[in-house]
Amino acid sequence: MAVSFVMRKSAAVRFRHLFNRSIAVLQNHHQHKHQIHHHPISSSTYSSLSSPLFSSRFLSSSSSTSMASSDSSFPVTVHNINPKVLKCEYAVRGEVVTLAQQLQEDLKAKPGTHPFDEIIYCNIGNPQSLGQLPITFFREVLALCDIPSVLEKPETPALFSSDAIERAWNIIDMIPGQATGAYSHSQGIKGLRDTIAKGIEERDGFPANPNDIFLTDGASPAVHMMMQLLLRSEKDGILCPIPQYPLYSASIALHGGSLVPYYLDEATGWGLEISELKKQLEAAKKDGISVRALVVINPGNPTGQVLSEENQRDIVKFCKQEGLVLLADEVYQENVYVPEKKFHSFKKVARSLGYGDNDITLVSFQSVSKGYYGECGKRGGYMEVTGFSAEVREQIYKMASVNLCSNISGQILASLVMSPPKVGDESYELYCSERDGILSSLARRAKTLEEAFNTLEGVTCNKAEGAMYLFPQIKLPQKAIEAAKAAKTAPDNFYCRNLLHATGVVVVPGSGFGQVPGTWHFRCTILPQEDKIPAIVTRITEFHKKFMDKYRG
């Protein structure tokens, strides 16, 4: 029942009308599908949600205005909770995924009732859930840090490599009182931040300050923190790429700001044009929106492009010129699959231009969940904040301190990914073969899937130069669009649901990320294990052919 919100390229205000219209559709729809329930609920007042927010589809509530007056006695019901909570949306774990979980239960209860025997989750960048193995060295160190008492035991070398033992010692010695079970400094353990700063320096060739680093439970809380800091009201806007990773739209909605979209150009491999940025910035200003920051995701999610250094220079100059904070989502920095492209951090690009702390405010996000490590469950990550006044940094510190600290295991892992084994270390060879094995396999998978998508009728797919996703465009036949309408859902959602029912493959409709009006996409991760890829390709190809045969008209 997801209703696609259609984005206008011009201005946020125009989007608002569309948004409200789609909500009206939703409300009607909800009334149809209302389920009786003993708890009082009421329809929330969507019309009051007037900010030009993107991705505001509200999916789950079964609501009915007729019940609104009958009982509003519960303090917490959907009609009186925080409207910003209602407004935000997160498609990566949205409706199609919920459906997939139901099908999985079905399969368990009644095997053989569907044309597939397992659900393949290509909706989320969660590599280890699909069989990717962790890097042995990292896990050895983490295990040892959990049981520091065994470090001195004579039996330990029988189970752990010598450099893992040494690294664990180093780390434990960094922790005040060697207490791995204690809250740390709210920015993260100082010694680990030193290690990370050194890793950044080695990566960029420019100095990094450990005090600029805030360790977080994954990159997402860091993004939330920056949004909370920047957004005062719906009059404050954040420039976000479309398509975008819905964390941004959701976080902006939760914090009551406005998403100002800029479109990536699909025809040029999801290129980021400065002229487009300028146009959208001007349009937002005209609407009275004060644009505070620019989000760039590099390598791109869901689009998979890797920005050229020249393009990055222009972006940095643009931010300096316009006084925008540059929020650089660089969590896929290790995921680059094409020889002609390289990852460059925005900090390095800015410093190469000679821009220092006073020229540009830059936040770089990194995570242990992506890369070749893919340690999603650890919730480790950091942000490097540069170009902030001491006063503001204090405020960030205070926000971090309310949650005390991020989890220590994730902190340790963040330091490990920024300082992996080196030549000569006992684990070096194993580490390299694990890392290269994962990355080269990902590159092959990206290529196989991309080529497969491009052979499908009406489908075009840009190369995944980096990250973990493909974002093919599907030209849906008119009859399919009408069938979607009849099913009261967006055409891309309709396609993805059909795909799931037929193949067990879970992908996310493009409308969850935003797309040029009238175009339809889906996002598919490249993460299923390599031996499964051929079967997936066959299943998707067969499904697509049947789908097109049915609706081609």
């Binding site: 708890h39 009082p40 999916l59 789950s60 509530s61 006695s73 519960f74 303090p75 917490v76 959907v78 009186n80 909770i81 925080n82 909570v85 935000c88 997160y90 989320i124 280890q128 859930s129 896990r139 295990a143 959990d146 049981i147 008492s149 065994v150 029988a158 189970l159 005040p176 009182g177 079970g181 204690a182 809250y183 740390s184 439970d217 997402s220 939330h224 909370q228 800091l229 920047l230 005062r232 976080s251 939760l254 006084g323 999603c376 469950g377 650890k378 919730r379 006044s389 503001v392 405020q395 205070k398 926000m399 301190s401 309310v402 005390l404 991020s406 989890n407 220590i408 295991s409 994730g410």
Partner: protein, 481 residues
Amino acid sequence: MPPKPLDYESINENVKKSQYAVRGELYLRASELQKEGKKIIFTNVGNPHALGQKPLSFPRQVVALCQAPFLLDDPNVGLLFPADAIAKAKHYLSMTGGGLGAYSDSRGIPGVRKEVAEFIQRRDGYPSDPELIYLTDGASKGVMQILQTIIGGQGDGILVPVPQYPLYSATIALLGGSLVPYYLEETANWGLDINELRQSVNQARYKGITVKAMVIINPGNPTGQCLSEANLREVLQFCFEENLVLLGDEVYQQNIYQDERPFVSAKKVLMDIGPPLSKEVQLISFHTVSKGYWGECGQRGGYFEMTNIPPETVDQIYKVASISLSPNVPAQIFMGLMVNPPKPGDISYDQFVRESKGILESLRRRARIMTDGFNSCRNVVCNFTEGAMYSFPQIRLPPRAIEAAKQAGKVPDVFYCLKLLEATGISTVPGSGFGQKEGVFHLRTTILPAEEDMPAIMDSFKKFNDDFMEQYEDHRGYSRM
């Protein structure tokens, strides 16, 4: 030049308003002093391992094995790990789809949530639904998430005890809501008086605030009292009458240091009362792996249980949880282990009991030493720490000390605590960070310093305090000028 987006004057006002004293001025000064080489006794945060408490062996062994599952196939694994830890690690790994390195369900691993539900059922004698239990990165994250769901704007009020744990004030400020204080009665052992509550609600309503929820912290932080069952009944009745969600912060439920008032959960009392309350009063209960005899603060593990929350709202809470993908998985395993510890007959059972009892009994003794120590000091009165991890003595500051504080541009209790820090290295949190009645001053210490250090710490406190009082108190016979 116009202000830049992250110039101090242009950032979110709610961020500036938010205060979090536990890591505030005192803590920063203490960290500075530590860097200068001074020995600091951090009693500002309930962070037991930082003060030398050793982690329980068994859960660490299990989680280490989950971190390094390849060890399970190693013929040498038995050299370092007992068989029941190996079995437990396999048990938890089988619940995950991809081990510790994969995002779990945004609500937490279903198998662990089931174990939590079974624990609650054993504890309370009433069924608990795993679907209504969400695992979180520590209880703080859970509290933030629930408050975010409740608070839409300034007109939404949350009843919070004063003194309170500043997580509540800080989060309410960040979210732009209104904190509606109700005072705990120090002379009645930090008792919770329903008339006081009623007054607070009426006052807030008079100001146009819709009071939506009430927070109780039981056992109390920073106040250390344990609520009686009768008192909890009154609170639930009050929430029923006033249509409030009850937020039960029960993270200290293992930390009980007296026998008259054992811990009773708000959920149990609610179910004991029966309908209509048991079907109507909305309750969210919070728990954590950071407290108790576990003290695994650094893991960031917790859960909340929802009672009488309509499914549509649960869906919304789920959606917001899903934006953060999942709580960290190692801490979810810790939570599983906490609610489902070794049983009699398990290889590790004896050691587990020895370790946990040792910690709890020592905490009980420390609570006593500390309360008695404070009460032996001049101008200091202190209620006994019945539970939790803190002592919250009242310091009766002489007028001249208050005057001196004013001159130094400090709040009087901050002034006192800074002097205490400089003189003794004891890092405490001033009562003003938690809220207190006007003109009354406190400080909070944890009871966590190692037991053997305790007498020396209390001696040095007493010496400082009595000197301080000597310096600032008018002496009898001293001529009044």
